[in-house]
């Protein structure tokens, strides 16, 4: 649905993104992660044809963004970093205004406005001027605006920023539900738990693409090979024994706990446990530690910074 090939964009002497490439499939939720200044907003602006790349090519729905910018803008909905609403007109009129730029029949516009304002609990205040809305309400209104023309592709820049936990939960559920409607979602977020729960794949960038993978692919990395063993007695007693096992690459102990890095855990874990038990180790429990996206993200960003 979206193909970005070798995108580079500079602003004077500053390189915002360099040579980034990715493919996003139809109805996929693609998490786009990176620290501040990593190039997320520049990328989302290029995808929404607001700015052009200096080099590289974007293809959306099989159309070159340089040639078919107007078409691409009709099939994409953009939630910008700042909600940006006309403060002196009503929420309803805000949505009506934006939706009038798309070729949608009037009755459909009215239905969609009602649908999304009701969905985000704003219907009762539809006639209030947007300037009286709280930050969270404006964010929900901005999300309604991005959805009002029922786009095939949704480009979301921090969709739950400024929302209370209940509203954020509602928005996340909604984003998740978009999969069923075959909507492709490009999700820029700092909320790694949100990215981890919603995304089919994540792309971690810091001006360049560091990694594109599913969460399970990321977890199969070095951090995903960690296991924790809790012994009934001091773990240090078993260090020498564990060091003899070729599957174990790294051992750290703390009282009766040992944290290990075990190569090929699916195969090796049972072997390790058996050998330890056979050698007299009293194991209370064994736990494969699944790395969180946050840990993986921080590792990758740190590694990139060290280069």
């Amino acid at each position: 649905m979206i193909t970005a090939e070798n995108l580079t964009r500079k602003f004077k002497d500053i390189t915002a993104v360099e040579n980034i490439s990715f493919d996003i499939n139809e109805s996929e939720i693609f998490g786009f992660l990176g620290p501040n200044g990593a190039g997320k907003t520049t990328t989302i602006r290029m995808l929404s044809t607001l700015i052009s790349p200096d080099s590289g090519k974007i293809t959306i729905d099989n159309k070159d963004s340089k040639i078919h910018g107007e078409y691409i803008r009709t099939i994409t909905g953009l939630l910008t970093e700042s909600p940006g609403m006309y403060e002196k007109i009503s929420a309803y009129d805000n949505l009506k205004y934006y939706s009038s730029f798309y070729n949608i029949p009037d009755h459909k516009i009215n239905n969609n406005i009602e649908k999304y304002l009701k969905m985000f609990d704003l219907w009762d205040r539809k006639d209030d001027i947007a300037g009286t809305y709280s930050k969270g309400m404006k964010q929900k209104l901005a999300l309604s605006r991005a959805l009002i023309h029922e786009p095939k592709i949704l480009l979301l820049d921090e969709p739950t920023a400024g929302l209370d936990p209940e509203s954020a939960h509602m928005v996340r559920n909604f984003i998740d539900s978009l999969k069923k409607e075959k909507t492709t979602v490009f999700l820029c977020t700092h909320n790694l738990e949100e990215a981890s729960n919603l995304s089919d794949r994540v792309c971690i960038i810091k001006k360049k693409v560091i990694r594109i993978a599913t969460l399970s692919e990321l977890q199969s990395g070095e951090r995903g090979k960690r296991a924790q063993i809790v012994f009934s007695d001091d773990a240090d007693r078993y260090v020498k024994l564990m060091k003899e096992l070729s599957e174990i690459k790294n051992i750290q102990t703390d009282k009766n706990k040992a944290t290990l890095v075990i190569e090929n855990p699916d195969v090796s874990n049972p072997k390790v446990i058996k050998k330890l038990v056979d050698s007299g180790a009293k194991i209370i429990y064994f736990n494969q530690i699944k790395a969180s996206l946050e840990e993986i993200y921080l590792d990758l960003i740190r590694d990139e910074g060290a280069k």
Partner: protein, 263 residues
Amino acid sequence: MKNAGIIFKKEIKEIIKNKNIWVPILIITIIFSISLPLGFILGSTPILEDEDTLNFITKVFGQVDDPLRVLIGFILKQLLIFLLMLPAMVPSLIAPASIIMEKENNTLEPLLATPVKTSELLLGKSLTALVPTFIISTINFIILVIVVDISAYIKLGYMPLPTIEWVIVAFLLSPILSFIITMASVIVSSKSTDIRSAQGIGAVIILPIYLIIGLQLAGFFLLNITYLLIGCAVLLLICPFVLRLAVRVFDRENILTRWKMKA
């Protein structure tokens, strides 16, 4: 161009609600289109009792049979220049307000993410300044003509307006001037983040108009058809340049990357 119409319609609704724009226009109209001509024409008889005024008329117009008629003719030439005030002032109030409100509300990015073309956005914004200016200037022209004609009829028994010079100013020079001021305001607004600074710079842009008004009032020249047509021709030559500059400033990339935006 349908989208330009949508932008225009929405902007006009907001402009109508904006007292900061309407109050100065109303004050200018009351002062320069009603009070001033009424005062000048109805109060012309006492002015003629002053020996200096009669000497001035003789010096400028030679010996005349009806000094009152000549004086009122002279006053009308002076009032003519005031017709340029609103066409210069109104776009410098509306255009920056219309653009800077977008910046203050951070609405430009979501607006540009719709299928709207930047040319439609520029046209919509320009019409927002130009159409009310033309309507206001025409209403002002009608009010001024009615006030002058009624007061002149009371004093002299005839209605001197409209003359060809007044028609040229109202329907040729004023629209050209409004267009240039609108484009200049668009350019200025791209560099400002608050309405006051944009309107402050806008006031500087229209300074040459006030200078012309001041020079005529000071007696340096008196507008006639030749001067007016030369003025129109010169301003018409400037139009393509300011338009080209405004179009360049109003480019999608420029707006998002080079415009001074509110943080």
